[in-house]
Amino acid sequence: MAPATIVAAGVGKRFLLHHKKATSLKERLLLHRQSSSEGFWALQDVDLEIGSGQTVGLIGPNGSGKSTLLKVLSGILAPTTGTVEVRGRIASLLELGAGFNGELTGRENVYLNAAILGLSRRETQRYFDDIVAFAELEPFIDNQVKHYSSGQYVRLGFAVAVHVSPDILLVDEVLAVGDESFQRKCLDKIADFQQHGCTILFVTHALDLIPRICSRGVVLDHGRVLHDGDPVEAAERLRSLLGTGADQSGRGAVAGDRPRVAAVRLFDPAGGADKGHFRGGEAMAVEFDVAGPAGGPPVSVRLAVTGPADVPMWVMDSDPLHPGPDGAATVRFTVKELPQIKGIYALAVAVRDPAGTVTYDARRFSEAFLAVGDTATGVLEVVWTTEQVE
């Protein structure tokens, strides 16, 4: 067994709740003493030992503490409890090009960023040509970075980060940005690092990547480690957590007296016409018929829209539905403006009790719709509404 490069023991991280935080002296004086001792535990009792050369996939629902854990491991945030020990140079792909200054040229930024990441000027000189070649920016390297396209910016940031010959690479969702060829390049580089014995900790929503790349999968939920071990099991564990586990064949149907998804319709909310092809910015409506026993319990429906590589894009939860006398109910989700996404998307739907503790039925409708938008990067902001249709 190779020696551990990362040892986290009993790590907990508590954030003070935002509305209680004093950001000015005046507030601090006014809040004096009554300021909060309560907080929000983003991580709790995390014990993690990562051996040198391992590739670990870190997955979990949104807000489960993945990014916080990466920041604690990389020394950006201090843990509230427990200890973190790290041996080796960390390169974190938390945000590519975080240290860039728009006024400086690409060349100047490479030197600056490499210095921040712990390289000496001589080391940077040695890697410089490789960095520029990898970023494919030879003609632009003496232009100011503020004139770069977002793709060029990210490529340069990535190139610097991977050329500082890290011992430990922390990757957070980089595969969510950039075009396909860049994503492939990222994956190739990651494979390259694996061969050279680099330790990699990899946060992703792309569940099918986990078994392909990682030798170990860690599932976080509400700040605790839920699973640590086999990557395939880890991905399954998360799918069941998200309610996107069952496949589309419908064999996942359960005994007749439990609520289940009976039908699904996608349509244009304006005209009501069925539709399977949406442009970015268009409105989209999805209706589910839920069938269940007469006089059955109230249920709620969770709908996750998942993109290429099984990446959940966003999740919508209905209010509790009250089935009619025949046990049937229909719920509609209306997305006001489809975000600028591109590709074929699947719908994963789960019928659960309103508290979300029991899943009665879960289905996946793959290739549910085609979206044609400009590929945008960054945080998706989806405005949606839900209502029960009588």
Binding site: S74, I76, R87, Y111, A115, I116, L117
Partner: protein, 286 residues
């Protein structure tokens, strides 16, 4: 294996230690950013002391004669060092908040941020002092005497003091953004409480009956630094029967520099300690 481990530990240390190379790279960045897209670039900073000299000569030697011989030289010798302190403190205060993006995303020793602000101000100061000395070589030869040695302890004290201010204020400013605004006001008052525009002997004569008040006034480390700078460059202790700078050897200057030095070292220690204590929370508070 042990060697591999050691090398890895060394690389880990390189990411958390304050390295001179990182500091110079950050200072270089600040200088480049400041003069990017300006045709004259650095010349602006160098022209600054020349302009002041010209204006002060015009106003105080020709228009508002205040009776102090070579007053622009007296003024500039204190004013440049004050500018260094002022710039280092103010840009240092905003250094952590201004680099929030970096602090929230990247692992590196945070303390280099205020330190590089002091370095940035220091580069400016050294160049401006150079320009002043060149001009004096042409118009005020007397400046180049043995008393110039006083520059060494004076610059040492002001550097330590400014570094302490920058460390303390930058750390506190992350939690209380008021610090920045408060300091702007304080520095303005502080400027007038330091003998830059008026000679220190005026204050001494005012407080003649109460030497304790004068001692309190001089306990301001910047008062010690500024008078020592003036004594080093301005060589007219006595003008027309009026004492401008305390005469009689360097005892007065060295004493107050020593007092200022002690205060500066205490402040640096306090700033360092505060920064160390608070830096763990920077990424969260920003």
């Amino acid at each position: 294996m042990a060697q591999v481990q050691q090398a890895a530990d060394a690389r880990a240390a390189a990411q958390s230690r304050v390295r001179l190379e990182l500091l110079t790279e950050l200072v270089r960045k600040d200088l480049k950013v400041k003069y990017k897209n300006s045709a004259l670039g650095f010349i602006w900073s160098l022209a600054n002391p020349l302009l002041y000299l010209a204006v002060f000569t015009l106003v105080f030697d020709k228009l508002l004669k205040n009776g102090i011989e070579a007053f622009p030289v007296l003024f500039m010798s204190g004013f440049l060092v004050w500018n260094f302190f002022n710039l280092a403190t103010l840009s240092g205060t905003g250094s952590v908040v201004g680099n929030a993006n970096l602090v929230r995303k990247v692992r590196f020793p945070r303390v280099v941020l205020p330190l590089s602000s002091v370095g940035f101000a220091g580069v400016h100061f050294v160049l401006q002092l150079g320009v002043l000395l060149i001009v004096l070589a042409a118009f005020y030869r007397d400046a180049f005497g043995p008393q110039l040695v006083l520059l060494v302890p004076a610059l040492a004290v002001v550097t330590v003091f400014a570094t302490g201010m920058a460390l303390l204020a930058s750390a506190l400013n992350v939690r209380y953004r008021d610090v920045e605004h408060l300091l702007e006001v304080i520095l303005l008052a502080w400027f007038w409480l330091t003998p830059i525009v008026y000679p220190v002997t005026f204050v001494r004569d005012q407080f003649a009956g109460d030497s304790w008040l004068f001692r309190l006034y001089m306990a301001n480390p910047m008062a010690g630094v500024v008078t020592a700078m003036q004594r080093a460059i301005y060589v007219h202790p006595v003008t027309g029967g009026r004492q401008i700078l305390p005469a009689g050897g360097y005892g007065f200057y060295l004493t107050w520099l020593a007092v200022g030095g002690v205060i500066a070292v205490v402040l640096l220690a306090a700033g360092w300690w505060t920064f160390r204590r608070l830096q763990a929370d920077f990424a969260e508070e920003l």
